[in-house]
């Protein structure tokens, strides 16, 4: 049995990313880094980077809990980092090795420390909100003006029905769809109460016939091409879709709204798996990301705010003044953040999500 497990672990290692000196294997969200960040890092350090992408926290968690992923650096959202850290899948961050750690905004470090005590396992990478991306012309011709930018577009069956023909997409993530549904019902988005969950499920089921698909990244291209007209999505992703649509010049205009009823604010964290083959290179990369110009370049490209206080002066004026990227104080008051789920609630939640998705 021992021999067999050694054999399978060899298989697992060779099946994962390559292990060698001077390499770094990064697993990050899709469309989540500037075009030249990796190339610049490689030129500056001589480390060669293998870069893979995913589009949901659940998929990342599946890989982390499998183990031997071969990745040196991953980017879970804070509430998922907290859960996985309990399963012991991350190495503590060696802050002494990060000369740029002091550039991080202490306010944001304190917020994420609520879920990651003493900021042990994660370094904040970006801040995002979850809201609604929409096709301006198609939506305006179908629903009332005061409903645009409201969760009604997704959660009110009558309104969603009017939008169904031009295509409504939602995230394929139970945690990030049930929380706004609870919030829309006037309940606590972090509630683990069974009755609350049932109400949220009933709400989702009432609008499900009008949902074109459940997917967490496809909406970027589909919004930009005019293949769908409404998507629940991440702020920066929708704003990237807006730019792609403008570049394509096909007359598609995309806008992003943090819904008036409030939306989720979240943080994605740089973390190092405990079985990372090249943890020093991962630290070198984190330190590189913490340089103000590098962090600003990423924000300017992906439209996600960064937690780097020194980076702000390098962020483009139009990015810094975009309320979709840096929400105003008034909007921020309506934002909520997610807490890690208990194992028990997580199971009811994923079961409920399967029921919603499959329409059974």
């Amino acid at each position: 049995m021992k021999k067999l497990s050694t054999f399978t672990s060899i298989l697992a290692i060779t099946a994962g990313a390559a292990v060698a000196e001077g390499e770094l294997n990064i697993y990050n969200w899709s469309d989540y880094i500037a075009e030249d960040t990796i190339a610049n890092f490689e030129a500056a350090t001589g480390i060669s980077v293998n870069y893979d992408v995913y589009d949901s926290n659940e998929i990342l968690e599946a890989k982390m809990l499998t183990g031997s992923s071969g990745y040196d650096l991953v980017v879970p959202s804070i509430e998922f980092l907290a859960r996985q850290a309990k399963a012991g899948v991350f190495s503590p961050i060696d802050k002494e090795a990060l000369s740029n750690y002091g550039n991080l905004d202490p306010v944001i470090l304190n917020i994420v420390a609520l879920n990651d005590p003493d900021n042990t396992f994660g370094v904040p990478y970006t801040m995002f909100t979850t809201g609604i991306g929409y096709n301006v012309t198609k939506v305006a011709s179908r629903i009332e003006a005061d409903q645009i930018g409201s969760w009604d577009m997704v959660f009110d069956p009558k309104t969603a029905a009017k939008l169904a023909d031009c295509g409504v997409a939602v995230l394929d993530s139970p945690s990030e769809m049930i929380a706004p549904a609870l919030n829309y019902l006037g309940l606590d988005p972090n509630s683990e109460d069974t009755d609350d969950l049932e109400q949220a499920v009933a709400l989702m089921q009432s609008v499900r016939p009008h949902i074109r698909y459940f997917h967490s990244s496809q909406y970027i291209n589909d919004l930009a091409n005019g293949d769908i007209c409404v998507a629940v999505g991440y702020s920066g992703d929708v704003l990237q879709a807006r730019d792609r649509a403008a570049e394509a010049g096909q007359g598609v205009e995309v806008a992003y709204a943090i819904p008036t009823e409030g939306g989720q604010v979240g943080f994605d964290m740089l973390a190092i798996p405990d079985d990372a083959p090249n943890p020093e290179n991962a630290l070198a990369f984190i330190n590189y990301i913490l340089e103000p110009e590098v962090a600003a370049a990423i924000t300017n490209y992906v439209y996600y705010a960064n937690p780097n206080t020194l980076a702000t002066e390098f962020v483009d004026e139009e990015v810094a003044s975009d309320p979709g990227i840096y929400p105003s104080a008034e909007i921020s008051a309506h934002l909520f953040s997610l807490k890690p789920h208990s194992a028990r609630y997580d199971r009811s939640l994923t079961r409920a999500w399967t029921t919603i998705k499959t329409g059974q």
Binding site: M64, L65, R83, K86, A87, Y213, R347, W353, T354, T358
Partner: protein, 317 residues
């Protein structure tokens, strides 16, 4: 002086190795059987047992994400099998309907593939040898491109802002785009398109062997072509039909890529459910139980396929 080593050194390498193996009690027959047996053991039986083991455990937030099914403490080896995963599959109607739906989609797609594939295979088998090779080449040619890319190409055809809708709208046939992508229709198109060659090839192999003198005899006895097709050609090609249908049906039941890329939320196929259990729900034990049940659902058609193959071999000998 012993000259034996010299003789051996002049033997071809293969025979030399054979002799050495013989000396240690290995025989050719044993070796020939041992290699595929070992292959099946390492790549089929052991993974199957691993999956079966996980299907009896309990999910947990840990690495790996399930609890062990045996425990050794104070000299006691205790097992705890969790059959709850299987019971859950039967309690929740989702899984039964997903199995039924997969079988339905695969079945309908198989019938469509048969209706499309039979005339094609017939035409290829009846054409002149040179044309025949060219036509066969055309059937096989798509395999030179990745399956994933070919399915992706269908997205470009079927989407709201895609080639078909744009063409129809520019011709003035329709005003608003047809919603074709993310529907069951797109899944049927994808599956039939993907598996059609697996229908055509065994049918062709069967039809090309059909002796034309049977048809001549039928015609001499007064049968019209349509009658001789249904009384002679069709029954004789039955083993080809079964082989083709099984080659399409079996992989189509567990198909994941086509429903994932072309299907919508209403497309309920067991391949997608399996992916969902594993990646979205991170529930390995349930995912394993689904996989094990799927294996048993597929055993029946596989048995049918083997029977058809055996019948064909008998007919050939």
């Amino acid at each position: 002086m012993n000259r034996a080593p010299d003789i051996e050194s002049k033997l071809p390498a293969g025979q030399f190795i054979g002799r050495i193996l013989n000396r240690f009690g290995f025989r050719g027959r044993g070796l020939v059987i041992a290699i595929p047996t070992l292959w099946l053991l390492v790549f089929f039986l052991i993974p199957f047992l691993v999956v079966a083991k996980i299907s009896l455990s309990e999910a947990a937030i840990a690495r790996p994400p399930y609890l062990p099914i045996w425990e050794w403490s104070d000299g006691f080896l205790s097992f705890s099998f969790n059959f709850g995963n299987y019971m859950f599959l039967f309690e929740d109607p989702l899984y039964l309907s997903a199995y039924m739906e997969s079988v339905k989609i695969a079945g309908v797609a198989t019938i469509i593939a048969l209706l499309l594939g039979y005339p094609m295979a017939y035409l290829i088998a009846r054409s002149a040898p040179n044309t025949r090779n060219l036509l066969l080449m055309l059937v096989i040619l798509p395999f030179w491109t990745s399956f994933l890319l070919r399915v992706y190409a269908w997205i470009g055809f079927l989407k709201s802002n895609g080639i078909i809708n744009n063409f129809l709208m520019s011709m003035g046939v329709i005003d608003e785009p047809f919603v074709m992508l993310q529907t069951d229709f797109a899944v049927y198109v994808g599956i039939v398109y993907t598996y059609l060659p697996f229908m055509i090839l065994p049918l062709y192999a069967n039809l090309v062997k059909l002796d034309p003198s049977y048809l001549e005899a039928a015609s001499d006895l007064g049968a019209r072509p349509i009658v001789s097709f249904f009384t002679v050609t069709l029954p004789l090609s039955m083993s080809g039909i079964i082989a083709g249908c099984m080659l399409v049906f079996i992989p189509a039941v567990g198909e994941f890529v086509v429903p994932a890329l072309l299907g919508g939320p209403d497309t309920l196929m067991i391949g997608s459910i399996l992916w969902n259990e594993f990646f979205s729900n991170r529930d390995w034990p349930i995912a394993s139980a689904v996989a094990i049940v799927m294996l048993f659902v597929l055993v029946v058609p596989i048995m049918l396929l083997r029977r058809a193959q055996a019948a064909e071999q008998e007919a050939a000998s």
